[in-house]
Amino acid sequence: MREAVRFHWLIWVGSAAALLVLLVPVVIVVMAGLTAGEYLTFPPQGLSLRWVVTFLRSPTFFPAYLFSLELALITTAISSVMGTMAAVYLTRSQAKGVAAMRGLFMSPIILPGLVLGLALYVSYVLTNIGLARTFGGLLVGHVLVTSPFVLATVSASLVGFDISLEEAARSLGAGPLQAFRLVTLKIIQPAVAAGSIFAFIISFGQFDLSLYLGTPNLTGLPYAMYISLRYKFEPTAAAAGIFAIALVVLSMALSSRLVNLTRLVSNARLRW
């Protein structure tokens, strides 16, 4: 047995600094949403749920929250199925074009969201297929930016997958689809679930695409918050943020039960 690693004090100080940078803004949002005052001051003026109640009754923020949820659910359904299928192909095929295909499928990550939204909008207008500024058009954008994450997550779990397991099922009399469903799908299921959760959260927080694909009545929570932030710091927006934060933390805790997150991240380097 190796003795436990001992860390240099610089590692502790540096990690603490990084965690502060990551967490302080989030803590501030939670405090701003729960403040009793008209805005957040330091030291805080006490706790209250008044802004949470205002959020739940808000004609802009609450519908925006529901819209984001709906859009994220539909996006997740599509990109999970599509991404998982492609991941199985890309990890099993020995065809020549596999690397190029993976590159294509991963590229929405480096194409700026603003540019992708613009490109989609122009092509909708050009082809006149009735997607410009519609729910369907926005959905397409969301599927494009989320499916790379499903692909990367599921691919990571398929690396090192032993195909002979599926062949064993076949030789024991299972049909081809049955063998795939009972063996392979069962084994990669946690990764598919984790990939779907990533897709869901990324779609939920997607902002840049809405600039050219959204409309006033197709507004998600990030856009509604952006509009309000340009003029004032409404605690109602922070209260809406609390609900989004809760959603993300719960999803991550859930996916940590499904897959080993550290191992997943080690395998799923987002490469192009």
């Binding site: 957040l40 590229s107 700026p112």
Partner: protein, 304 residues
């Protein structure tokens, strides 16, 4: 064991019928995603490129097949545009360096920590902060750094300063915002490579008398260079692309390319010029990818 050797162990009837998605029918799986990406990704990007080379006509959205360089000439003739590209690159480079310095210790801690619970908790914190909507985190930062924000408000009330410190609505604010948003990506791309290094390398250096710092500097750091570069590339790309960070933390005073793109199109209807600026932004990111590939292959001596 490779797939080939396994194949030969499979009994004849199974081999003839094959697996559901093996060899012959495997390609069916990739058809939906390929079609989707050709129609909704490759085609729109090409259309935008065509728009960038089209004759500028205010208010017209789509290209109609000219090939002129007017938009690009305009970009290189006006300092406000080419300086904006330089500013975009500067902010992205500075942010990626800061994110690297800040992210390395945390990634090292997570990669080496053997306590499963703490490891998972830290992973959840990093992943959750990566996935949490950027606008929400920007809200927190604006409340912290604004002229009437927590820092300035408190300092003024306690009479340390008379005027608010310029923490936001400038380049400093945009860099702070960018680092906050991109830090998790840096940490995540480092964890994988740090975990991949066998601890016995460092132990060997230590047992030969190297100080912990020297062992780190001469063994671990060079071996983690690929992950560090990949993380910096990711931060660079995310930073140069973000509209919302520059809009909120820069308060429309920091004219990076995404702000110009949006402003040209939304306020003046100059779609062709906006498309040209988008092309330049994308070319900047692609160039960063190539620099990354060149540097990382030189560093690893062509091994990676």
């Amino acid at each position: 064991m490779s797939v080939e050797t396994l194949e030969s162990n499979v009994s004849e009837p199974v081999r003839r019928k094959g697996l559901a998605f093996h060899r012959d029918r495997l390609w069916l799986l990739v058809v939906p995603m390929t079609l989707f990406f050709v129609v909704f990704f490759a085609f729109p990007v090409l259309i935008l490129l065509a728009d960038a080379f089209d004759k500028p006509t205010a208010g017209r959205v789509t290209p109609h097949g000219d090939f002129v360089l007017t938009n690009f000439i305009r970009f290189f003739s006006f300092p406000q545009y080419y300086n904006s590209a330089l500013l975009t690159i500067e902010i992205a480079v500075v942010s990626s360096i800061i994110a690297a310095i800040l992210g390395y210790p945390l990634a090292y801690l997570i990669a080496k920590l053997e306590h499963p619970t703490w490891n998972t908790v830290l992973m959840i914190l990093v992943l959750a902060s990566m996935q949490l909507d950027g606008v929400i985190r920007l809200y927190g930062m604006m409340v912290l750094l604004g002229d009437n924000g927590l820092i300035n408000g408190t300092l003024i009330r306690w009479h340390y300063i008379d005027k608010p410190l310029p923490l936001m609505y400038n380049v400093f604010g945009v860099i702070v915002g960018t680092v906050q948003i991109t830090l998790p990506f840096m940490v995540l791309s480092l964890i994988g490579v740090i975990r991949g290094i066998s601890p016995s390398f460092e132990e060997a250096a230590r047992s030969l008398g190297a100080s912990p710092w020297r062992a780190f500097r001469t063994i671990t750091l060079p071996l983690t260079m690929p992950g560090l570069l990949a993380g910096m590339l990711l931060v660079f790309a995310l930073s140069s692309s973000s509209y919302v960070v520059a809009a909120l933390m820069g308060g429309w005073k920091v004219w990076v390319l995404p702000i110009h793109i949006f402003e040209r199109i939304s306020n003046s209807g100059q779609w062709q010029f906006g498309a040209a600026l988008s092309t330049i932004l994308f070319v900047i990111n692609i160039t960063a990818v190539f620099i990354y590939l060149a540097v990382s292959s030189r560093m690893t001596g062509g091994r990676a």
